[in-house]
């Protein structure tokens, strides 16, 4: 098959384009060549975190890869099959274990046997979905679509040390689309403050601020203390249970940022979501496109589309996998948009 050529400089998020291309390539057994990777950036070409994804994808897809090295501005990827089974992947501090998992999750669901994947590295990165976001928000949604997949965090790992471990257990599945145009009524809110090697007091201060600002009861706020891991870390999550879907909002603590500031950041993101009409928040919208392609189609409502969503949609169309319409939904066009995925069989 002729490789598909992708311009790695187009749109936003050079890394996300690459990860989506890897996923699509594995699912459709379509070789591709990506050029001008991150062209125009200060340090163009592949970075270690991108390579981590390329190598994980190459492993489960028995792919022939050319140009997979740091700084490379062109990459060729040609998968030969899909290998279910046990995979142990170490990425160190090169990016997020969750981004690696998202790259290979759908292909593993499509493989013909069960898999167990352990990924060593960071579980809570500032610019990636956290392990909690995936375990509590993204995966439950996929399970409702029919995915046979669970995720457990064996040990959290924070940047810059890494040192965390996640384990995903995945079985052969076929997905069906869910209607995700209406979130329904808010049923419950649960806040989890994770502290790792840090005083419990930090979590309590965060919860105090969140409880006050979001008017929550004490039994909705939970401190999660994890055994001391390699690096210290703190993460705050809001799990919003709506009638038709569960949304997870994350905020990460870091040195130099006060617990109260972390909590305020979370509250603002929660408020923004609550005030919107779209069913799916910005981050989930982005991540839902590929599962909907895999499910044969579907639709969801979300807020004003991000650059990531647009460039991801264009990439999917370039692979010939689906037609994707992104248009203002009825109601306030500044607030609600409808994303419609029609898979091409």
């Amino acid at each position: 098959m002729n490789p598909l050529t992708i311009d790695g400089a187009q749109g936003e998020g050079g890394g996300q384009i690459l990860r989506s291309a890897l996923t699509l390539s594995l699912l459709r057994r379509q070789p591709f060549r990506i050029e001008r990777i991150r062209a125009g950036r200060a340090h163009p070409g592949l970075m270690r975190q991108h390579l981590a994804c390329v190598e994980a994808a190459a492993r489960i897809g028995l792919a022939r890869v050319d140009g997979a090295h740091v700084g490379s501005t062109a990459l060729e990827f040609e998968p030969q099959g899909l290998v279910a089974g046990h995979h142990e992947i170490e990425i160190g501090s090169a990016g997020s274990t969750l981004l690696v998992l998202q790259t290979i999750l759908l292909p593993l669901l499509a493989a013909d046997g069960p898999s167990r994947v352990r990924i060593h590295g960071a579980t809570h990165n500032p610019l990636a979905p956290s392990a909690d976001f995936v375990a509590e928000g993204f995966l439950p949604l996929l399970r409702r679509m029919g995915a046979n997949a669970t995720l457990s965090v064996e040990r959290p790992g924070f940047m810059p040390a890494g040192g965390g471990v996640i384990e995903a257990v995945v079985g052969p599945s076929s997905l069906v689309a869910l209607p995700l145009e209406d979130r329904g009524a808010l049923r419950d809110v649960r806040i989890e403050a994770l502290v790792c090697g840090l005083p419990r007091e930090i979590a309590e201060r965060e919860l105090g601020v969140v409880a006050r600002r979001l008017r929550l009861r004490a039994d909705q706020c939970h401190v999660v203390e994890r055994p001391r891991s390699e690096a210290t870390g703190n993460a705050l999550h809001a799990i919003l249970q709506y009638q038709h879907l569960r949304v997870v909002v994350q905020a990460l603590g870091r040195r130099g940022l006060r617990a109260e500031q972390v909590a305020q950041g979370l509250c603002e993101d929660v408020r923004r979501y609550m005030l919107g009409d779209g069913a799916v928040d910005e981050h989930l919208a982005d991540q839902l496109l590929l599962p909907l392609v895999f499910a044969g189609g579907g639709s969801f409502t979300t807020g004003r589309p991000s650059g990531h969503l647009e460039s991801n949609a264009r990439l999917i169309e370039a692979f010939g996998a689906a037609r994707i319409a992104i248009a203002p939904a009825q109601g306030d066009p500044a607030k609600t948009w409808l994303v419609r995925v029609d898979a091409v069989r």
Partner: protein
Amino acid sequence: MAARPQIAIGFLGTQLDQGQGAGRWEKWRPTVSLGQQPDLELARIELLVDFDRSGGLARRVVDDLRQVAPRTQVRLHDVRLADPWDFEEVYAALHDFLRGYAFDPEREDYLLHITTGTHVVQICWFLLAEARFAPARLLQTAPPRRQDGRSAGTWSVIDLDLARYDRIAQRFRRDQADTASFLKSGIETRNAAFNRMIEQIERVAVRTRAPILLVGPTGAGKSMLAKNIFALKKQRHALEGAFVEVNCATIRGDGAGSALFGHVRGAYTGAAGERAGLLRSADKGLLFLDEIGELGLDEQAMLLRAIEDRRFLPVGGDREVGSDFQLITGTNRDLAQAVGEGRFREDLFARLNLWTFALPGLRERPEDIEPNIDFELERFARLNDERVGFNTEARQRYLRFATGPDATWSGNFRDLSASVTRMATLARAGRIDAAVVDEEIARLRRAWARGGTRDGAQVAESVLGEVLPPEALAAIDRFDRSQLADVVRVCRSTRSLSEAGRVLFQASRERRSSVNDADRLRKYLRRFGLDWDALTGP
């Protein structure tokens, strides 16, 4: 395209990579940061460790590197140093390591991480890389602006090949242009061959202290160039001493040895005191010996010794003295010929003839006459606090003459300088007008007609050199040359063969003993393979 494996080599110090407990991850640790860079993947880190001092630290660093960069192999090398601040010991230890290391530069790229270790270690890494004991570039890491554990800081590679840096290369080019201009006394010369030669002199002068020989006719600027080379080297701190200039033609005879090499008290009658001599005065400086061909054979032998050993005996002395100087020699004679005739020592000539530059005379650089005129006017203004310029017409008239065939410029730049100075002095109200120029042209013609500073044979040779190929010229006896040269000059200054004949055979005509002057002249020229057209042609 496959990436070449990158190998970092570093020395684990005792300080920067320290860190206890989980808090160590929030601290910038340069060696560990090598494994945390998003855009650097090392295949291997070779870590030099003093196990006695930093064994425990090394184990933790290795563990942490394994965690952040599982694909990077870390190898420890025990390097024991009694004193990591001792230059000799550190250099030897690192040198030994590099010598024993199986570099494979065909396959792998090497980076010497210079951020860790004592300053002495850094200096030694630099020296070893610069001397190519390690086929490596230097790797530098730096902490993030805020050490909040979110960034591993930055890294950069320093390539010691300065030509790879555009801005540095530009700076070099600018410096070089400045230097060349300096050597030319700031004169914007246009003659390509001359400018090329100056560039070569610039490179030689900046890089070596080997003797330089300047060959060229009187007044071609040898002395000025020697002075400029001295000033350049002084500016670059390559010389500390003085500029000492001597024309060897002026120190011939008995006093020559004493003038050059000095003498001790009572060396000869009248030598009441000690004399240092010019060579010793030039110690750590520059000695310019002009007209070196005029130096006596005895002095030549002593000079050779002084150049080779930097030591010599003062006249009458029995203890050698030393002097370390850069030597520039000048000559307007063909030294090779002088060697052939036994008037100049062959071994000395060989020593002097390493960097030989032939300065062309002014006639060979007609395009440089105008910038030199401006330079002379500037100099006049500086010396006399009076700015003088040409009228447009006067300038054109002077230039036409100066670059024309009538201007022999036998004294070269010296003639030009004197000529411009005369005109500037005679100028009225700061303007040199056509009348002043005309007077000056007449003055120059008269001076050159008298033979100027050249003797008859030289003048004849240069006149004939313009109309005859060298081998034909060489076949003509000196006896015939002057006569032929005069005939050629007359032919060139008349309009026809007949007119030239009338001028040349004037006396015979008056005695009516000659009837066909033109025919007589034609036959004379034919004897030398010449004819009217060849002499006066375009």
